[in-house]
């Protein structure tokens, strides 16, 4: 009897609605095209676009951890920049030890060295994240004001400890042999390292999406972002999940730090807090808790920063703020706000 009384109906979402939902994705090519028009010269445009995408990818790597942590744990970590800086320093130190490998013209040796540096950095920052979460963050779950204050304090202490361990100066390191220089396509020069960055960023994005959509832990994260309480009521120890996610986020920040460091070829203790402004802008644009939003936001910010650096250098940071304001006017919670049960 119950079968006939409830007729299943699946409504097809109208086309207009579906395009509207997809709109944020289209912003990236839109910006790229606008850039092409503004810059004029296709060769310069290509160079800048690759640079923008590379920068965007690196910011995405750094920001993704922050946004998922916030979405899942409702924790705002102003100390995230510390992981970026520590990661960079650890990475550089390892690469300096492997100088033999990086000086070699063999691409494989170079990549191996970079890989080892990255793994070391991620290990250290992951562990640092563990300590950070247990000692600094956990006591203030649920209290946003205290989280902001305490994590900032953690950032200060971490930056000072970098000085203690690595000294007061900045550190220089040239990129490994095979990653230096550019490929020339017509008039455009495309730096090899930037392509690597784009590659790694894309791989990471695809990887993260896969984990979120197709694994049990990804399921838990997505469910937890929406309704942590219910996940607990289903029998899952959400606190343990929090810790894993936090550590992953800090490890990713470490990875981002190494990559950013190699991009700049110079690192300082405060590089983390320097880049945090852009990271926050990206997280805001994307919507707190959304990995896709973060990805799109990062690409937009990267492209915009590079286009304006070329066209009107003085307004570079302001244009990024303007982008953020415009997007917030359109969608006050960011591009893909996460639907929260609370």
């Amino acid at each position: 009897m119950s079968e006939t009384s409830i007729k299943p109906r699946l409504e097809k979402i109208p086309l207009g609605e579906r395009v509207f939902q997809r709109l944020p994705v289209l912003l990236v090519p839109l910006l790229a095209v606008t850039g092409l028009i503004a810059i004029g010269n296709p060769a310069s445009w290509l160079t800048l676009t690759v640079a923008g995408l590379a920068m965007g990818m690196m910011i995405f790597i750094m920001a993704s951890g922050l946004t998922v942590v916030f979405g899942l744990m409702d924790v705002i970590n102003f100390g995230h920049g510390a992981f970026v800086a520590v990661g960079a320093f650890v990475g550089f130190t390892v690469l300096a030890w492997l100088a033999g490998w990086t000086a070699s013209p063999s691409v494989m040796m170079n990549l191996a060295a970079v890989l080892i540096a990255i793994l070391a950095a991620m290990l250290v920052t992951g562990l640092l994240g563990l300590a950070f979460e247990r000692v600094i963050v956990m006591p203030v779950y649920g209290e946003h004001l205290k989280q902001i204050l305490v994590t900032m304090g953690g950032l200060i202490v971490a930056q000072q400890m970098i000085h203690v361990v690595w000294g007061p100066d900045e550190m220089h390191l040239s990129r490994p042999e095979a990653l230096q220089g550019s490929w020339v396509i017509g008039d455009a020069a495309i730096e090899k390292y930037r392509l690597l960055a784009v590659g790694i960023g894309l791989a990471l994005f695809v990887g993260m999406r896969h984990i979120l959509k197709n694994t049990r832990i990804g399921l838990l994260v997505r469910a937890g972002v929406e309704n942590g309480e219910m996940v607990e009521a289903l029998g899952y120890r959400v606190r343990r999940l929090f810790l894993i996610v936090f550590m992953t986020g800090s490890a990713l920040a470490g990875l981002g730090g190494v990559m950013w460091g190699l991009y700049q070829e110079t690192i300082t203790a405060h590089m983390g807090s320097d880049i945090m402004v852009l990271v926050f802008i990206v997280v805001i644009i994307g919507g707190l808790g959304s990995v896709e939003g973060c990805f799109i936001g990062a690409l937009l910010v990267g492209l915009l920063a590079n286009y304006t650096a070329f066209l009107a250098p003085k307004v570079a940071l302001i244009s990024t703020i303007a982008l953020m304001v415009v997007i917030l006017m359109w969608r006050p919670q960011g591009l893909y706000p996460v639907v929260k049960a609370k």
């Binding site: 946003h144 304090g153 953690g154 200060i156 000072q160 203690v164 402004v277 940071l317």
Partner: protein, 353 residues
Amino acid sequence: MLTRLLSGDTPRSGLLTVLLLIVVVSLAFAPFLFPGTRSLETAARICIFIVLVASYDLLLGYAGIVSFAHTMFFGIGAYGTALALATTGPSYGSLIWGTVAGAVVAAVFALAIGLFSLRVKAIFFAMVTLAVASAFAVFVSQMSWLTGGEDGLNYKIPRELTPAFKLVKEKVFGVRINGKLLAYYLVFFASTILFLVMLRIVNSPFGRTLKAVRDNAFRAEAIGYRVVWYRTTATVLSAVMAALAGSLLAIWLRYTGPATTLSMEIMIDILLMVVIGGMGTLYGAVLGATLFILAQTYLQTLMGVAAEATGAVPFVSTLVAPERWLLWLGVLFILSVYFFPSGIVGRLRAGRV
């Protein structure tokens, strides 16, 4: 009468009263008690930062709003006065119009930011203010034709406030009564007045409603208070006070630059001062600013001595090296948030000491 002066907000703790008196008396008689340019600089800095930190406490402690744009207002006030003095000459007129202009611009910015906060959540707001303040700092550095860029602006102030001006020929109590002294007392009295005004504000009906809004905005709105209006007004008042503090700094230093006013270091310093001193008390600003600036100036010397002494032990000596004073302050800051969430003032009041 003293109670009325303090708008009824007395220290309420014996030890606190003693500490505050020590600070006030030391600052009032600084040129005589601690002769020398370095100590006078420190004293003036303390006066100015008391106002700046108190204005931030108004926003954070009383209104419950976390903002990282405070140094922006500080800078606007400083640059306003600086630009006026640089462009229309070292007269009192320039001083006044520059200060007023700085305060007005700060108010307008604060209004814009306050209204924007209508649309976004508190966490967003904090991050947005961080972004805006950073952009502003970069912008100021790049408009070097106007602001002197990274180098800042050097300018002259009215002659009566410079060391060249001698009010009294002979030394009084071993101290020269010159323009520098007058400038110091200008800073001291202006700071005192501004602080008392803020004390008045937080103890007025407006201030009480503000605290109610901070504690439970939902409920306040339900009772009928327009939460947005209160928050925006608090933001504007706080910004104007910060701008005035900036103007005082501009007058005192005879120099204004991004490093002295707009840097993120200063924002973090303010945060440390207000938390360690005690949020939501205003007196916390007094103790916090004094403690912090004294540490900044003199602790480093102390740490230098300790570093020398432990020179043989490698790791320890780098930990106590004078450049690492911020490390210890950071640790103190974290401990304060956990163990003395109401800061030194809160601790003293709770202990009924």
